[in-house]
Amino acid sequence: MKLSEMRASTHGTVKSLWRDERFLSRITSIGLTEGADFQVVKNDRKMPVLVYVRETLLALNRKDCEKIEVMEVQG
């Protein structure tokens, strides 16, 4: 499933990231790597997704979240 499809207050792991160098470099430098565990804090329609990863609360553009494949895990 895509990160943008996850519900709020669920936990997940990044399965794969869209293969584009610019995107990868940005997303990696801010803490989202394949295998990283995260928590979806808020996910409202048409709004950026709020993700908590590596002790940082991130706001990610919705379109970018579609480039992130994730797997839900039981927190």
Partner: protein, 620 residues
């Protein structure tokens, strides 16, 4: 001179350290051949001078933007004797990524653990000594914004220059044969975080695994009500900004009167030519008044927005408006400069430095220009009130507000694809920092530096332009009709008429591009002919204008349609001379500054033409 470089992700507090160390001894220019800003400055410690270079903001060193390439080249070139790597102690794991990228460079370095106050507030403990042993370089716990600890930092830098240390460990990024570039990047990224977790093991403990939004966040991040509250807070912020600047404005407004008569009397007594007397007694005090009031505008807006930024509020605003702004080719971060622009375009234009990359920054500046500043709202109701009833004025205001969005859209369509090409459009990826207390001393100092810089530039530019304007409109008889301005104005009137403006409104339209505050004064001069255009053009005060008399003459002389066209043209033309100058200073591109100004002047004339011809049958 020893050269120290500052390296860190945006939000690591890099510019705070830079500003605190160098104060006003800064030099801002360009990196050779690039539009990326180069900031360097000087500070001294124990009678030795040090050059400090603020390396362009980037999240890493993977060479994916001009900023990253410049930073990487600078460090690799060995130009810095010491690199201070800054990380955010409250988000240590993630912000260490910059250090992981830097580790391969093999140059002398120290690590600054900034925002220790926030980390401590979160209950985080960091074993700096252990971290230092593992890295092989000194580690300094620090709080950049509170102004303390700088002596310790300077002492450490001095010591390290004599006996430098390099990192003794680096992520295992060996050449990976047979992989695609993006694949390599992915694997390297993982390696870097593995390295970071190894380094941090036992140094600090991750505090929470379950993040809970605070009550305030729950409110402010709501899709609809959050936006309402956000806008409410910003409006309160503008009121606060006005309160902050009113004492400065008050004192400055007394200058023309206080200085004018004594200077005039003194010079007349010396039998100086009346022309020169007028320059010294009217032009100079007025210019001074004008520059001070502009600088205080910049000060007020910066204090308020500096505060909102520092406590973490502006990041939430970016979250709220990311969706709307991405339609313009921008992203959430552009919301702060746009909001600042509602107060003062100058503040808004310099606020665009938060954007990622030059193209986004330039586009954001062009969009900020479309936002009418507070000064416009002080003149539109006055002019509109002369011609239309209250409901008509309300309609005019609504029309102007509606057109803001149209103009923003046009700007993004015309320039968006050039400045931020579709394939390079990056969505917002930003951190929402934890709320924390504001460091007032720093905010005020920083705003003061900006305000003083603005004052100096304003004094230069405005003096030059007002002398020019003054010369054009000087009339020995005191009557407008004997001035050069009148001759030029009436000569080109057939052309300006086409755009809906007679020569009088056209002159006022031109003066609006210098300063919105000048509009009423200019109208008074060209319509009533009571005072010299130049005397009023840069006189920010409108108190001396007899609005009743002006209204009577204006409504007799021009049609409602022309007034309406004029109001629209004025509002959406070049915001003011200093906004233009700031745009140049921030963009470092004369070409794009001229393009922006040209576009706005043409767009304003076209708008005026359209408004005039539509309104003529009704308001003729």
């Amino acid at each position: 001179m020893n050269c120290i470089a500052l390296l860190g992700q945006p939000n690591s507090g890099k510019s705070t350290v830079f500003n605190q160390l160098t104060g006003s001894r800064q030099h801002v220019g360009n990196w050779p051949g690039k539009t990326v800003e180069k900031k360097d400055g000087v500070y001294s410690y124990k009678n030795t001078k040090y050059t400090l270079v603020d390396l362009p903001g980037s999240y890493g060193l993977s060479g994916n933007s001009d900023e990253e390439i410049i930073t990487e080249k600078f460090i690799k070139g060995g130009e810095a004797d010491l690199v201070c790597v800054m990380v955010d102690a409250s988000q240590l794991e993630r912000s260490m990524y910059m250090l992981a990228d830097f580790a391969a460079m093999n140059v002398p370095a120290i690590l600054i653990l900034n925002m220790m106050d926030v980390a401590t507030g979160q209950g985080k403990k960091i074993n700096a000594k252990l971290l230092s042993e593992r890295l092989g370089i000194p580690v300094l716990p620090f709080t950049a914004a509170d102004g303390k600890g700088y002596d310790e930092l300077k002492a450490l830098i001095e010591k390290e220059l004599k006996k430098p240390h390099k990192l003794i460990t680096a992520p295992d990024i060996t050449v990976k044969e047979g992989y695609e570039d993006s694949e390599k990047m992915l694997l390297d990224g993982n390696e870097k975080y593995i390295w970071i977790s190894k380094i941090l093991e036992g140094v600090t403990k991750a505090s929470v695994t379950e993040y809970k939004l605070s009550r305030f966040d729950k409110l402010i991040l709501k899709p609809f009500w959050g936006k309402v509250v956000t806008i409410g807070i910003i409006l309160v912020g503008f009121l606060a900004a006005m309160l902050i600047m009113s004492p400065f404005m008050g004192v400055a407004s007394m200058l023309p009167k206080a200085l004018g008569a004594p200077i005039s009397n003194f010079l007349t007594g010396l039998h100086v030519h009346p022309w020169l007397v007028s320059v010294f007694s009217m032009l100079i005090p007025n210019t001074l008044y004008f520059c001070i009031s502009m600088a205080s505008f910049v000060f007020g807006v910066n204090v308020v927005f500096g505060f909102l930024e520092e406590i973490g509020f502006l990041a939430r605003t970016a979250y709220q408006f990311d969706g709307a702004l991405s339609k313009l080719g921008l992203q959430g971060k552009a919301v702060a400069p746009i909001l600042m622009g509602m107060g003062c375009t100058i503040g808004g234009a310099s606020g665009t430095r938060v954007m990622d990359g030059w193209g986004q920054k330039m586009l954001a500046m062009m969009v900020v220009w479309a936002v009418p500043c507070a000064s416009i709202w002080s003149i539109i109701p006055v002019i509109s009130g002369m011609f239309f009833p209250a409901w008509g004025t309300a309609l005019v205001c609504i029309g102007i507000i509606a057109y803001i969005f149209v103009l923003m859209f046009i700007v993004s369509k015309v320039f968006g694809s050039k400045l931020v090409p579709e394939e390079s459009r990056a969505g917002m990826i930003m951190e929402l920092p934890p709320y924390h207390k504001a460091h007032w001393k720093y905010i005020i100092k920083d705003s003061w530096i900006k305000c003083f810089d603005m004052f100096k530039r304003a004094l230069r530019t405005v003096t030059l332009v007002s002398i020019l304007f003054w010369g054009l409109s000087f009339s020995p008889s005191g009557n407008v009709e004997s001035s050069l301005l009148y001759k030029i104005g009436t000569f080109i009137e057939p052309v300006t008429k086409f755009f809906g403006m007679g020569w009088r409104t056209f002159v006022a339209f031109i003066s609006a591009a210098f300063a919105k505050e000048a509009v009423l004064g200019t109208l008074n001069a060209v319509f009533a002919g009571q005072s010299n255009v130049a005397d009023v053009a840069f006189n920010a005060g409108t108190g001396s204008v007899d609005k009743m008399a002006l209204s009577a003459i204006m409504t007799q002389t021009i049609s409602g349609a022309e007034a309406l066209a004029f109001m629209f043209a004025c509002t959406f033309s070049v915001p003011c001379l200093m906004a233009l100058s700031t745009t140049y200073k921030e963009s470092h591109s004369l070409k794009w500054t001229v393009k922006t100004a040209g576009f706005y002047i043409i767009a304003a004339l076209v708008l005026s033409c359209i408004v005039y011809h539509i309104a003529l049958p009704f308001l003729g």
